[in-house]
Symmetry: C2
Subunit: 444 residues, 2 copies
């Protein structure tokens, strides 16, 4: 669904954008090329630029067992050139044309995009289609790039106690499902990645049947389709879309806690994850209810948790909630707080637990619910200014198996959430046995 | 190594036996049949019986991803008969001959055995060799047996809070390695097991190259070999031993806690698991040191933890430690306590933590170390009375990749452990970030 999660992607180059959406929704055109590649066009004529994205229906959760990190590693290797275009040529052209480019790997998908003046759209397609089929990988290129990824992991995780806590919490929440494995991969498995792994993976997933082209911008749909046919349309089909094989998470039974204490921690924090249904796994209205619940409980300084823990009880300097609805499989609903100076994590957590227990009576007033819905829908309308977000919403939705109609229906799904839906969703999902609580502490 | 772990196996029919070992070690004869099947004979002439075991080098940790429980399920199905011997025929013969039979599935192996008067050894071999190659499985047999396993899981786990805690702790200790998956499998995956899974698995692992025959008893090695050649020797080889594919556990970074609260809990308990090297993964002397450490800390009422927590501080009515050395991959070192009446888990745990911190000075006196070593070695000598244990020690060792020499060397490995080894092993392994603490509480 249209809300981007907190930090599920390894994003390169630029930061992640907020999703973009208008209440009526933009005109969206969709096609399928003869080789099975999906095409989505979102005309947006405000500026003479085009956002060109290719989404692959494979993310880190599709990494073969023991080969974690391969989705992300291949994303790096996709910049290593083809027969026709040597390493760096694509990026150089984007830059010379005054454009921007980006790529990221998430749990459920991998995507590549460029934003250029609209007349260069065909050039982007030519380059992107070329590397879908003709990537050239030698050991001389693979080994140094693996060192780059290892260094990336060292910088992002090994030296960051908060990231270590995050990984340990995910691993405790998802004991069986691969969402418990870091997107970047486990260190010792990254170390073992080689050209063979990369080529196997590339051959399996980088196919037209597995890809979605999304173009947003000052473009004419028919013209986009013509360009797509002349570039992506020439990539040979493989006959079928690759199959994702993922074990399902068992029903949780035990309340879990994870603690990291490290001298480098400047600010202790408390986090709580609950195993929650996603937009795809839950009963019809539960995911929308959880979106409203997260907004109502923890969406900014007027939210219930902020008011209760920061303003009323003064046990925290920040508190909030988020929910990652956009996921193929069961996902995360999160609470967090930063304790006030002089307040222990224990005292702050007690206040959090009391606030959660009081949800039905204390948080779910009709007026508060209405405000949360309005904020949620309005946010997406405001966000519609960003063409990248617009393209991203559709790409992410299609990549996880949602439809354009699902995306367009989202505001009315949110509006349809009732107080009863919220009571039921909170009671079912925010249960201790579904939770992992994380403590980040300064080691003495 | 020769100590059996606390509860890693799903044992059917009879209980698990203590290992058997004499200081000099028995005469052990070993062979390999032409088709690659290993044969170990341990003559033991005290009674005119023979213990006949076949060990397969595949356990639950080799279950394919998403197909947990298949090793154990196939163990059940192995009693469903062949072309030559209909379901139940083998068991009926064992029983008519006054024998006993047994089978179990563990993380690293699956084994089948019978104990009969020595003159029936050849009959056992005939039946066992027959079901290695000629198992017959129809949907009519597979579906009801799956219901049996589901019911087994319901009885053992779903209705037992202690078992639920146990599963959750294992899943938190092993976030990536399959030792975190229950031997019996996750409920929803057992539900999906079918004839196809069983046949695939059987075809992959039930081969002569993957099997070890162990015969202990009043037998002549040459005669055993002749019988084996005429039965197992006729099973067609497959050309190579099947490969086990297991991801390695990443280095742990966070201290974890798991809690189950349930109205059915009569007696709260506290457990602690540490990720520890096994006899196969650790540096040469670390595993032996951990065996001594477990005995010294928690091997019965004279141990350090029992004396400290039960006798001196009176915060617990029981306390102990164990270590599962026998494992292909990194394994568990465990502490546990049962709090005294009126003592909270928190107070008891504080006392446990204080006792652990004090290990180098308080627990590692030379006299205590010597006593622990003597107890460890003596235990195995006393246990040598059991023929089944004798066979079991060799079968388990060979099944995980140890040699007969490794088993025979074990007492001297234990004797060679120094105080420095113990200090180093305790410091490295009993570290908070390697631990999962489990609380079993009565729900109010």
């Amino acid at each position: 669904m249209p809300r981007t999660p907190a930090a599920p992607s390894l994003i390169h180059a630029t930061g992640g954008a907020r999703p973009d959406f208008s209440a009526d929704g933009p005109q969206v055109h969709s096609y399928t090329l003869d080789n099975g590649m999906d095409v989505v066009v979102v005309p947006d004529g405000r500026v003479p630029v085009a956002t060109h994205m290719v989404w692959y229906r494979n993310g880190s959760a599709d990494d073969p067992i023991g080969v974690s990190g391969i989705a992300h590693f291949l994303e790096h290797l996709m910049f290593k050139g083809t027969e026709k275009h040597p390493a760096g040529a694509f990026s150089k052209v984007v830059s010379e044309l005054g454009g921007q480019e980006n790529a990221f790997t998430s749990y459920d998908y991998t995507a590549y995009f460029q934003r250029v003046a609209k007349e260069h759209l065909g050039t982007m397609m030519g380059f992107e289609a070329d590397r879908m089929a003709n990537l050239r990988l030698s050991d001389e290129v693979v080994a140094p790039e693996r060192d780059v990824v290892l260094e990336e992991r060292r910088m992002r995780v090994e030296t960051d106690p908060a990231a270590q806590l995050s990984e340990a919490m995910a691993a405790s929440l998802f004991v069986h499902h691969p969402y418990g494995i870091p997107i970047i991969g486990w260190m010792h498995e990254i170390e073992a990645l080689d050209r063979g792994h990369a080529l196997d993976y590339y051959g399996r997933f980088y196919t037209p049947e597995n890809a979605i082209l999304v173009v947003a911008g000052d473009v004419v749909p028919d013209e986009v389709l013509r360009l797509a046919d002349g570039t992506y349309g020439r990539v040979a089909p493989r006959g079928a879309r690759p199959v994702r094989v993922r074990p399902r998470e068992p029903e949780p039974r035990a309340m879990r806690r994870v603690a990291v204490a490290d001298p480098r921690v400047e600010q202790p924090t408390l986090q709580r994850l609950y195993l929650a249904p996603s937009a795809l796994t839950g009963p019809a209205r539960e995911s929308a209810a959880l979106e409203v619940l997260a907004e109502l409980l923890g969406g900014g300084p007027t939210s219930y948790l902020y008011r209760t823990l920061v303003l009323d009880k003064a046990v925290a300097v920040n508190a909030g909630a988020w929910y990652m609805a956009s996921a193929i499989d069961d996902t995360r609903f999160a609470l967090y707080l930063v304790p006030a100076h002089g307040t222990s994590l224990e005292v702050a957590e007690e206040a959090l637990d009391a606030a959660i227990r009081a949800i039905p009576d204390a948080a779910l007033e009709e007026a508060a619910i209405a405000r949360a819905k309005t904020r949620l829908v309005a946010e997406t309308v405001y966000a519609a200014d960003s063409q990248t977000s617009l393209a991203r919403i559709y790409g992410a939705a299609l990549a996880i198996g949602e439809t354009i109609e699902d995306v367009k229906r989202w505001p009315s799904d949110v509006e349809a959430v009732t107080r009863e839906d919220l009571v039921a969703a909170a009671a079912r999902v925010l249960a201790p046995h579904r939770s992992v609580t994380g403590e980040l502490r300064k080691a003495g």
